[in-house]
Amino acid sequence: MENNRYVIIFVFILTATVAVLLTFLREATKDQAALNEEIFNKRAILSAIEDKTGKDSGEFTDEEVVQLFEAKFTQKVVNVEGETLEGVSADDIDMAKEKKKPESERRLPVYIYEDGGDKVYVLSVRGNGLWDEIWGNIALAEDLNTVVGAAFDHKGETPGLGAEIKDNPTFANNFKGKQIMDNDGDFVSILVRKGGAEPGNPHQVDGISGATVTANGVTKMLESGLENYMPYLNDLRGEGQQGMLQEQ
Protein backbone atom coordinates (compact mmCIF):
# COMPACT_ATOMS: atom_id res chain seq x y z
CA MET A 1 0.00 0.00 0.00
CA GLU A 2 0.95 3.60 -0.32
CA ASN A 3 3.02 4.93 2.53
CA ASN A 4 2.52 8.15 4.37
CA ARG A 5 5.49 9.83 2.83
CA TYR A 6 4.05 9.43 -0.65
CA VAL A 7 0.72 10.85 0.49
CA ILE A 8 2.34 13.88 2.08
CA ILE A 9 4.56 14.56 -0.91
CA PHE A 10 1.63 14.18 -3.31
CA VAL A 11 -0.58 16.54 -1.37
CA PHE A 12 2.23 19.00 -0.96
CA ILE A 13 3.08 19.12 -4.67
CA LEU A 14 -0.58 19.40 -5.61
CA THR A 15 -1.21 22.24 -3.18
CA ALA A 16 1.92 24.10 -4.23
CA THR A 17 1.04 23.82 -7.94
CA VAL A 18 -2.47 24.99 -7.33
CA ALA A 19 -1.42 27.91 -5.13
CA VAL A 20 1.14 29.13 -7.66
CA LEU A 21 -1.32 28.80 -10.53
CA LEU A 22 -4.04 30.72 -8.74
CA THR A 23 -1.74 33.43 -7.46
CA PHE A 24 -0.51 33.96 -10.99
CA LEU A 25 -4.02 34.14 -12.39
CA ARG A 26 -5.12 36.52 -9.68
CA GLU A 27 -2.21 38.86 -10.27
CA ALA A 28 -2.97 38.86 -13.98
CA THR A 29 -6.64 39.72 -13.51
CA LYS A 30 -6.42 41.92 -10.43
CA ASP A 31 -6.21 45.36 -12.06
CA GLN A 32 -9.00 44.76 -14.52
CA ALA A 33 -11.19 43.31 -11.77
CA ALA A 34 -10.62 46.39 -9.61
CA LEU A 35 -11.51 48.63 -12.56
CA ASN A 36 -14.65 46.59 -13.22
CA GLU A 37 -15.67 47.01 -9.62
CA GLU A 38 -15.12 50.76 -9.80
CA ILE A 39 -17.21 51.05 -12.96
CA PHE A 40 -19.90 48.91 -11.38
CA ASN A 41 -20.09 51.31 -8.43
CA LYS A 42 -20.06 54.34 -10.71
CA ARG A 43 -22.92 52.96 -12.74
CA ALA A 44 -24.90 52.70 -9.51
CA ILE A 45 -24.39 56.44 -9.04
CA LEU A 46 -25.34 57.13 -12.65
CA SER A 47 -28.55 55.18 -12.29
CA ALA A 48 -29.64 57.67 -9.61
CA ILE A 49 -29.31 60.58 -12.07
CA GLU A 50 -30.74 58.95 -15.18
CA ASP A 51 -33.11 61.89 -15.65
CA LYS A 52 -30.18 64.30 -15.80
CA THR A 53 -27.88 62.34 -18.09
CA GLY A 54 -30.87 61.33 -20.20
CA LYS A 55 -29.54 57.80 -20.48
CA ASP A 56 -30.02 54.50 -18.75
CA SER A 57 -26.91 53.73 -16.69
CA GLY A 58 -26.48 50.52 -18.68
CA GLU A 59 -26.28 52.39 -22.00
CA PHE A 60 -22.91 53.93 -21.24
CA THR A 61 -19.85 51.97 -22.27
CA ASP A 62 -17.16 51.43 -19.65
CA GLU A 63 -14.98 54.15 -21.19
CA GLU A 64 -17.86 56.60 -21.25
CA VAL A 65 -18.50 55.98 -17.55
CA VAL A 66 -14.90 56.79 -16.67
CA GLN A 67 -14.86 59.85 -18.95
CA LEU A 68 -18.14 61.14 -17.60
CA PHE A 69 -16.84 60.97 -14.05
CA GLU A 70 -13.69 62.82 -15.00
CA ALA A 71 -15.49 65.51 -16.95
CA LYS A 72 -18.66 66.23 -15.04
CA PHE A 73 -18.28 65.01 -11.48
CA THR A 74 -16.68 66.64 -8.47
CA GLN A 75 -16.01 64.32 -5.59
CA LYS A 76 -16.06 65.29 -1.96
CA VAL A 77 -15.86 63.57 1.36
CA VAL A 78 -17.51 65.14 4.38
CA ASN A 79 -17.92 64.13 8.02
CA VAL A 80 -21.07 64.20 10.10
CA GLU A 81 -20.27 67.74 11.27
CA GLY A 82 -20.42 68.88 7.68
CA GLU A 83 -16.70 69.59 7.36
CA THR A 84 -15.05 68.69 4.08
CA LEU A 85 -12.20 66.23 4.53
CA GLU A 86 -9.05 66.89 2.52
CA GLY A 87 -6.89 64.28 0.83
CA VAL A 88 -9.59 61.69 0.15
CA SER A 89 -11.94 61.36 -2.78
CA ALA A 90 -15.42 59.86 -2.71
CA ASP A 91 -14.15 56.86 -4.68
CA ASP A 92 -11.96 55.85 -1.74
CA ILE A 93 -14.89 55.50 0.61
CA ASP A 94 -16.18 52.00 1.22
CA MET A 95 -19.67 52.44 2.64
CA ALA A 96 -19.65 48.91 4.06
CA LYS A 97 -16.66 49.78 6.24
CA GLU A 98 -18.03 53.20 7.19
CA LYS A 99 -21.27 51.62 8.35
CA LYS A 100 -19.40 49.66 10.99
CA LYS A 101 -17.85 52.77 12.54
CA PRO A 102 -19.65 54.79 15.20
CA GLU A 103 -21.76 57.44 13.52
CA SER A 104 -19.62 60.35 14.68
CA GLU A 105 -16.53 58.94 12.92
CA ARG A 106 -18.14 58.11 9.58
CA ARG A 107 -16.91 59.65 6.38
CA LEU A 108 -19.59 60.38 3.79
CA PRO A 109 -19.05 60.51 0.04
CA VAL A 110 -20.65 63.27 -2.04
CA TYR A 111 -20.68 63.19 -5.84
CA ILE A 112 -21.57 66.51 -7.44
CA TYR A 113 -22.71 66.29 -11.03
CA GLU A 114 -22.57 69.48 -13.04
CA ASP A 115 -23.98 69.85 -16.51
CA GLY A 116 -24.62 73.24 -18.06
CA GLY A 117 -25.15 75.08 -14.77
CA ASP A 118 -27.38 72.32 -13.46
CA LYS A 119 -26.03 70.82 -10.23
CA VAL A 120 -27.01 67.50 -8.69
CA TYR A 121 -25.75 66.12 -5.39
CA VAL A 122 -25.57 62.33 -5.10
CA LEU A 123 -25.50 61.03 -1.54
CA SER A 124 -24.88 57.42 -0.46
CA VAL A 125 -26.77 55.59 2.25
CA ARG A 126 -26.49 52.08 3.63
CA GLY A 127 -28.61 50.06 6.05
CA ASN A 128 -30.11 46.66 6.80
CA GLY A 129 -32.89 44.90 4.96
CA LEU A 130 -34.47 41.62 5.93
CA TRP A 131 -31.62 39.20 5.28
CA ASP A 132 -28.62 41.38 4.78
CA GLU A 133 -27.38 44.84 3.92
CA ILE A 134 -29.14 47.22 1.56
CA TRP A 135 -27.77 50.43 0.14
CA GLY A 136 -28.63 53.22 -2.23
CA ASN A 137 -27.72 56.50 -3.87
CA ILE A 138 -30.01 59.50 -3.59
CA ALA A 139 -29.66 62.40 -6.00
CA LEU A 140 -30.77 65.83 -4.78
CA ALA A 141 -31.45 68.84 -6.97
CA GLU A 142 -29.67 72.15 -6.43
CA ASP A 143 -32.19 73.19 -3.75
CA LEU A 144 -30.72 70.31 -1.70
CA ASN A 145 -34.22 69.18 -0.91
CA THR A 146 -35.95 67.72 -3.94
CA VAL A 147 -35.01 64.19 -4.97
CA VAL A 148 -34.28 63.91 -8.69
CA GLY A 149 -33.52 60.22 -8.64
CA ALA A 150 -32.68 57.24 -6.49
CA ALA A 151 -31.23 53.79 -6.97
CA PHE A 152 -31.12 50.94 -4.52
CA ASP A 153 -29.31 47.65 -4.29
CA HIS A 154 -29.11 44.80 -1.82
CA LYS A 155 -27.04 41.81 -0.90
CA GLY A 156 -29.64 39.10 -0.45
CA GLU A 157 -33.23 40.24 -0.21
CA THR A 158 -35.94 37.78 -1.25
CA PRO A 159 -36.40 37.78 -5.03
CA GLY A 160 -39.82 39.08 -5.97
CA LEU A 161 -40.34 40.69 -2.57
CA GLY A 162 -37.57 42.71 -0.92
CA ALA A 163 -35.41 42.50 -4.03
CA GLU A 164 -37.98 44.65 -5.81
CA ILE A 165 -36.25 47.71 -4.35
CA LYS A 166 -33.70 47.09 -7.08
CA ASP A 167 -35.54 45.01 -9.68
CA ASN A 168 -38.70 47.07 -9.93
CA PRO A 169 -37.86 50.49 -11.42
CA THR A 170 -41.18 51.88 -10.18
CA PHE A 171 -40.00 51.76 -6.59
CA ALA A 172 -37.01 54.02 -7.20
CA ASN A 173 -38.97 56.19 -9.63
CA ASN A 174 -41.51 56.97 -6.92
CA PHE A 175 -38.82 58.88 -5.06
CA LYS A 176 -38.53 61.46 -7.83
CA GLY A 177 -39.91 64.83 -6.80
CA LYS A 178 -40.14 63.90 -3.12
CA GLN A 179 -38.56 66.18 -0.55
CA ILE A 180 -36.33 65.40 2.39
CA MET A 181 -37.02 68.66 4.27
CA ASP A 182 -40.22 70.48 5.24
CA ASN A 183 -40.98 74.11 4.35
CA ASP A 184 -39.01 75.39 7.37
CA GLY A 185 -35.90 73.58 6.22
CA ASP A 186 -36.08 70.93 8.97
CA PHE A 187 -35.14 67.37 8.10
CA VAL A 188 -38.06 64.93 7.76
CA SER A 189 -36.65 62.20 5.47
CA ILE A 190 -38.84 60.05 3.22
CA LEU A 191 -41.05 57.29 4.54
CA VAL A 192 -41.74 54.08 2.62
CA ARG A 193 -45.33 53.62 3.64
CA LYS A 194 -47.02 50.24 3.84
CA GLY A 195 -50.31 50.29 1.98
CA GLY A 196 -49.31 53.21 -0.21
CA ALA A 197 -48.27 56.83 0.22
CA GLU A 198 -50.82 59.46 1.18
CA PRO A 199 -51.67 61.36 -2.00
CA GLY A 200 -49.78 64.60 -2.27
CA ASN A 201 -47.49 63.96 0.68
CA PRO A 202 -43.97 64.89 -0.48
CA HIS A 203 -42.32 62.81 2.24
CA GLN A 204 -43.83 59.41 1.48
CA VAL A 205 -43.53 56.74 -1.22
CA ASP A 206 -45.46 53.50 -1.80
CA GLY A 207 -44.22 50.39 -0.04
CA ILE A 208 -43.81 46.97 -1.61
CA SER A 209 -46.48 44.42 -0.82
CA GLY A 210 -45.07 41.44 1.06
CA ALA A 211 -41.78 43.14 1.86
CA THR A 212 -42.53 45.22 4.92
CA VAL A 213 -39.22 44.49 6.62
CA THR A 214 -37.16 45.53 3.63
CA ALA A 215 -39.31 48.61 3.15
CA ASN A 216 -38.87 49.58 6.80
CA GLY A 217 -35.15 48.99 6.30
CA VAL A 218 -35.18 51.51 3.46
CA THR A 219 -37.03 54.03 5.65
CA LYS A 220 -34.54 53.61 8.49
CA MET A 221 -31.58 53.73 6.14
CA LEU A 222 -32.79 56.99 4.58
CA GLU A 223 -33.54 58.53 7.93
CA SER A 224 -30.20 57.86 9.58
CA GLY A 225 -28.14 58.07 6.38
CA LEU A 226 -29.50 61.38 5.12
CA GLU A 227 -29.51 62.88 8.61
CA ASN A 228 -25.75 62.42 8.73
CA TYR A 229 -25.51 64.57 5.63
CA MET A 230 -27.69 67.35 7.07
CA PRO A 231 -24.91 69.46 8.64
CA TYR A 232 -23.14 69.49 5.29
CA LEU A 233 -26.33 70.28 3.37
CA ASN A 234 -27.25 73.05 5.83
CA ASP A 235 -23.81 74.65 5.51
CA LEU A 236 -24.15 74.48 1.75
CA ARG A 237 -27.57 76.08 1.83
CA GLY A 238 -26.26 78.78 4.16
CA GLU A 239 -23.54 79.57 1.64
CA GLY A 240 -26.03 79.60 -1.19
CA GLN A 241 -28.28 82.06 0.62
CA GLN A 242 -25.34 84.32 1.43
CA GLY A 243 -24.35 84.26 -2.21
CA MET A 244 -27.86 85.32 -3.16
CA LEU A 245 -27.83 88.13 -0.62
CA GLN A 246 -24.55 89.44 -1.98
CA GLU A 247 -25.90 89.40 -5.50
CA GLN A 248 -28.86 91.45 -4.36
Binding site: E2, V7, V18, L22, L25, T29, Q32, F40, P159, L161
Partner: protein, 238 residues
Protein backbone atom coordinates in the same frame (compact mmCIF):
# COMPACT_ATOMS: atom_id res chain seq x y z
CA UNK B 1 -28.71 5.78 -7.29
CA UNK B 2 -28.03 4.62 -10.78
CA UNK B 3 -24.46 5.85 -11.00
CA UNK B 4 -22.77 2.60 -10.00
CA UNK B 5 -24.60 0.39 -12.48
CA UNK B 6 -23.97 2.87 -15.22
CA UNK B 7 -20.29 2.82 -14.45
CA UNK B 8 -20.16 -0.93 -14.93
CA UNK B 9 -21.99 -0.69 -18.24
CA UNK B 10 -19.69 1.93 -19.56
CA UNK B 11 -16.55 0.19 -18.39
CA UNK B 12 -17.46 -2.67 -20.75
CA UNK B 13 -17.68 -0.36 -23.72
CA UNK B 14 -14.34 1.18 -23.08
CA UNK B 15 -12.47 0.31 -26.29
CA UNK B 16 -15.23 1.61 -28.56
CA UNK B 17 -15.23 4.99 -30.14
CA UNK B 18 -17.71 7.26 -31.93
CA UNK B 19 -21.29 6.36 -31.16
CA UNK B 20 -20.61 5.23 -27.61
CA UNK B 21 -18.67 8.38 -26.91
CA UNK B 22 -21.61 10.38 -28.08
CA UNK B 23 -23.83 8.55 -25.60
CA UNK B 24 -21.62 9.88 -22.82
CA UNK B 25 -22.86 13.29 -23.79
CA UNK B 26 -26.47 12.55 -24.72
CA UNK B 27 -27.35 10.18 -21.86
CA UNK B 28 -27.13 12.79 -19.12
CA UNK B 29 -29.38 15.09 -21.13
CA UNK B 30 -32.37 12.83 -20.56
CA UNK B 31 -32.21 9.23 -19.32
CA UNK B 32 -29.53 9.86 -16.78
CA UNK B 33 -30.01 13.55 -16.12
CA UNK B 34 -28.01 14.69 -13.11
CA UNK B 35 -30.82 16.74 -11.59
CA UNK B 36 -33.98 14.85 -12.39
CA UNK B 37 -32.62 11.29 -12.28
CA UNK B 38 -29.41 11.22 -10.28
CA UNK B 39 -30.68 13.89 -7.84
CA UNK B 40 -27.37 15.72 -7.78
CA UNK B 41 -26.56 19.42 -7.79
CA UNK B 42 -29.87 20.86 -6.80
CA UNK B 43 -28.92 23.73 -4.51
CA UNK B 44 -27.58 26.06 -7.11
CA UNK B 45 -30.34 25.08 -9.49
CA UNK B 46 -32.77 26.82 -7.21
CA UNK B 47 -31.08 29.99 -6.28
CA UNK B 48 -29.90 31.32 -9.62
CA UNK B 49 -32.80 30.32 -11.84
CA UNK B 50 -35.12 33.25 -11.22
CA UNK B 51 -33.65 34.79 -14.39
CA UNK B 52 -32.41 33.06 -17.54
CA UNK B 53 -29.18 34.99 -18.00
CA UNK B 54 -27.52 34.04 -14.70
CA UNK B 55 -28.73 30.47 -15.28
CA UNK B 56 -26.87 30.41 -18.58
CA UNK B 57 -23.72 31.79 -16.99
CA UNK B 58 -24.02 29.25 -14.20
CA UNK B 59 -24.54 26.44 -16.71
CA UNK B 60 -21.42 27.45 -18.67
CA UNK B 61 -19.41 27.64 -15.45
CA UNK B 62 -20.56 24.20 -14.37
CA UNK B 63 -19.81 22.63 -17.77
CA UNK B 64 -16.33 24.11 -17.55
CA UNK B 65 -15.75 22.80 -14.04
CA UNK B 66 -17.17 19.31 -14.62
CA UNK B 67 -15.29 18.88 -17.89
CA UNK B 68 -11.88 19.96 -16.68
CA UNK B 69 -12.08 18.44 -13.21
CA UNK B 70 -13.02 15.12 -14.82
CA UNK B 71 -10.08 15.45 -17.16
CA UNK B 72 -7.63 16.35 -14.41
CA UNK B 73 -8.84 13.65 -12.04
CA UNK B 74 -8.69 11.06 -14.78
CA UNK B 75 -5.12 12.06 -15.67
CA UNK B 76 -4.08 11.79 -12.05
CA UNK B 77 -6.22 8.76 -11.20
CA UNK B 78 -3.32 6.33 -10.95
CA UNK B 79 -1.29 8.63 -8.72
CA UNK B 80 -3.93 9.85 -6.29
CA UNK B 81 -3.42 8.13 -2.91
CA UNK B 82 -6.65 6.41 -1.97
CA UNK B 83 -6.72 7.67 1.60
CA UNK B 84 -6.87 11.32 0.58
CA UNK B 85 -8.69 10.99 -2.74
CA UNK B 86 -11.66 13.09 -1.73
CA UNK B 87 -9.53 15.96 -0.58
CA UNK B 88 -7.52 15.78 -3.79
CA UNK B 89 -10.68 15.80 -5.91
CA UNK B 90 -12.02 18.74 -3.98
CA UNK B 91 -8.80 20.67 -4.32
CA UNK B 92 -9.00 20.19 -8.09
CA UNK B 93 -12.62 21.32 -8.16
CA UNK B 94 -12.01 24.26 -5.84
CA UNK B 95 -9.12 25.41 -8.03
CA UNK B 96 -11.28 25.37 -11.14
CA UNK B 97 -14.05 27.20 -9.33
CA UNK B 98 -11.60 29.85 -8.20
CA UNK B 99 -10.52 30.16 -11.84
CA UNK B 100 -14.17 30.69 -12.79
CA UNK B 101 -14.58 33.28 -10.06
CA UNK B 102 -11.51 35.26 -11.08
CA UNK B 103 -12.44 35.06 -14.76
CA UNK B 104 -15.95 36.26 -14.14
CA UNK B 105 -14.68 39.15 -12.05
CA UNK B 106 -12.44 39.99 -14.98
CA UNK B 107 -14.98 39.63 -17.76
CA UNK B 108 -18.39 40.42 -16.35
CA UNK B 109 -18.50 42.02 -12.93
CA UNK B 110 -22.29 42.60 -12.73
CA UNK B 111 -22.99 38.90 -13.24
CA UNK B 112 -20.29 38.05 -10.73
CA UNK B 113 -22.12 40.24 -8.22
CA UNK B 114 -25.41 38.62 -9.02
CA UNK B 115 -24.19 35.05 -8.62
CA UNK B 116 -22.04 35.96 -5.59
CA UNK B 117 -21.96 33.10 -3.10
CA UNK B 118 -23.39 30.60 -5.58
CA UNK B 119 -20.18 30.54 -7.60
CA UNK B 120 -18.41 29.17 -4.54
CA UNK B 121 -21.13 26.62 -4.15
CA UNK B 122 -20.26 25.03 -7.51
CA UNK B 123 -17.57 23.30 -5.46
CA UNK B 124 -20.23 21.53 -3.50
CA UNK B 125 -22.33 20.90 -6.57
CA UNK B 126 -22.60 17.17 -6.10
CA UNK B 127 -22.64 16.51 -9.84
CA UNK B 128 -19.01 17.43 -10.12
CA UNK B 129 -17.77 15.30 -7.28
CA UNK B 130 -20.33 12.58 -7.97
CA UNK B 131 -18.98 12.16 -11.51
CA UNK B 132 -15.38 12.20 -10.35
CA UNK B 133 -16.09 9.40 -7.86
CA UNK B 134 -18.29 7.38 -10.16
CA UNK B 135 -16.59 7.86 -13.51
CA UNK B 136 -13.30 9.71 -13.78
CA UNK B 137 -11.50 7.67 -11.13
CA UNK B 138 -12.01 4.58 -13.30
CA UNK B 139 -11.92 5.85 -16.88
CA UNK B 140 -9.51 7.25 -19.42
CA UNK B 141 -9.07 11.03 -19.75
CA UNK B 142 -10.90 11.57 -23.05
CA UNK B 143 -13.97 9.61 -21.99
CA UNK B 144 -13.98 11.33 -18.60
CA UNK B 145 -13.80 14.71 -20.30
CA UNK B 146 -16.83 13.84 -22.46
CA UNK B 147 -18.69 12.49 -19.45
CA UNK B 148 -17.97 15.75 -17.65
CA UNK B 149 -19.28 17.82 -20.55
CA UNK B 150 -22.36 15.63 -20.88
CA UNK B 151 -23.28 15.89 -17.23
CA UNK B 152 -22.56 19.59 -17.14
CA UNK B 153 -24.86 20.06 -20.14
CA UNK B 154 -27.57 17.87 -18.64
CA UNK B 155 -27.45 20.02 -15.56
CA UNK B 156 -27.40 23.25 -17.56
CA UNK B 157 -30.36 22.12 -19.65
CA UNK B 158 -32.60 21.80 -16.58
CA UNK B 159 -31.21 25.01 -15.12
CA UNK B 160 -32.07 26.99 -18.25
CA UNK B 161 -35.46 25.32 -18.63
CA UNK B 162 -36.36 26.26 -15.07
CA UNK B 163 -34.96 29.75 -15.63
CA UNK B 164 -37.11 30.26 -18.74
CA UNK B 165 -40.30 29.18 -16.99
CA UNK B 166 -39.61 31.30 -13.93
CA UNK B 167 -38.59 34.42 -15.82
CA UNK B 168 -41.38 34.35 -18.39
CA UNK B 169 -44.15 33.73 -15.86
CA UNK B 170 -42.60 35.63 -12.98
CA UNK B 171 -41.29 38.72 -14.72
CA UNK B 172 -42.70 38.62 -18.22
CA UNK B 173 -39.25 38.93 -19.76
CA UNK B 174 -36.44 36.77 -21.13
CA UNK B 175 -32.67 37.22 -20.77
CA UNK B 176 -33.11 40.30 -18.60
CA UNK B 177 -29.77 41.87 -17.71
CA UNK B 178 -28.09 40.73 -20.93
CA UNK B 179 -27.89 42.44 -24.34
CA UNK B 180 -30.52 40.01 -25.65
CA UNK B 181 -33.18 41.21 -23.23
CA UNK B 182 -36.74 40.62 -24.44
CA UNK B 183 -39.73 42.12 -22.70
CA UNK B 184 -42.69 39.92 -23.45
CA UNK B 185 -45.65 40.73 -21.27
CA UNK B 186 -46.12 43.42 -18.67
CA UNK B 187 -47.97 46.56 -17.73
CA UNK B 188 -45.92 49.21 -19.54
CA UNK B 189 -45.36 50.15 -23.16
CA UNK B 190 -41.90 48.62 -23.13
CA UNK B 191 -43.39 45.12 -23.35
CA UNK B 192 -44.55 43.39 -26.55
CA UNK B 193 -47.89 42.66 -24.97
CA UNK B 194 -49.03 45.56 -22.86
CA UNK B 195 -51.59 44.30 -20.37
CA UNK B 196 -52.82 47.85 -19.78
CA UNK B 197 -54.01 48.31 -23.34
CA UNK B 198 -54.38 44.78 -24.72
CA UNK B 199 -57.97 43.57 -24.86
CA UNK B 200 -56.99 39.91 -25.03
CA UNK B 201 -54.49 39.91 -22.17
CA UNK B 202 -55.97 42.54 -19.91
CA UNK B 203 -56.52 39.92 -17.22
CA UNK B 204 -52.90 38.84 -17.13
CA UNK B 205 -50.51 39.62 -14.28
CA UNK B 206 -47.04 38.28 -13.61
CA UNK B 207 -46.99 35.53 -11.03
CA UNK B 208 -44.93 36.62 -8.07
CA UNK B 209 -44.74 33.07 -6.76
CA UNK B 210 -42.49 32.17 -9.69
CA UNK B 211 -39.83 34.55 -8.49
CA UNK B 212 -39.54 32.89 -5.08
CA UNK B 213 -36.93 30.15 -4.70
CA UNK B 214 -39.67 27.69 -3.76
CA UNK B 215 -41.06 27.98 -7.28
CA UNK B 216 -37.94 26.27 -8.59
CA UNK B 217 -38.92 23.22 -6.55
CA UNK B 218 -42.34 23.16 -8.16
CA UNK B 219 -40.96 23.60 -11.66
CA UNK B 220 -38.39 20.83 -11.22
CA UNK B 221 -41.05 18.60 -9.68
CA UNK B 222 -43.22 19.13 -12.74
CA UNK B 223 -40.30 18.56 -15.11
CA UNK B 224 -39.68 15.22 -13.36
CA UNK B 225 -43.36 14.40 -13.68
CA UNK B 226 -43.35 15.08 -17.42
CA UNK B 227 -40.09 13.22 -17.96
CA UNK B 228 -41.28 10.16 -16.06
CA UNK B 229 -44.63 9.97 -17.78
CA UNK B 230 -42.82 9.89 -21.12
CA UNK B 231 -40.11 7.56 -19.93
CA UNK B 232 -41.82 5.05 -17.67
CA UNK B 233 -38.71 3.04 -16.83
CA UNK B 234 -37.59 5.92 -14.58
CA UNK B 235 -40.71 5.69 -12.41
CA UNK B 236 -39.99 5.22 -8.72
CA UNK B 237 -41.54 1.88 -7.75
CA UNK B 238 -40.85 2.01 -4.01
Amino acid sequence: MSTTTQEVKQAEKEPLFGKKERRLITDPLNDNNPITVQVLGICSALAVTSLVYPSVVMAVAVVFVTAFSSLATSLLRNYIPKSVRMIVQLVIIATLVTVVELTLKYLNYPVYKQLSVYIGLIITNCIVMGRLEAFSMANKPWRSFLDGIGNGLGYGLILIAVGVVREVFGKGSLFAGSPLEMKIIGNTEAYWINTETSTMFGWYANNNLMVLPAAAMFVIGIIIWIQRSRNTKLVDVS
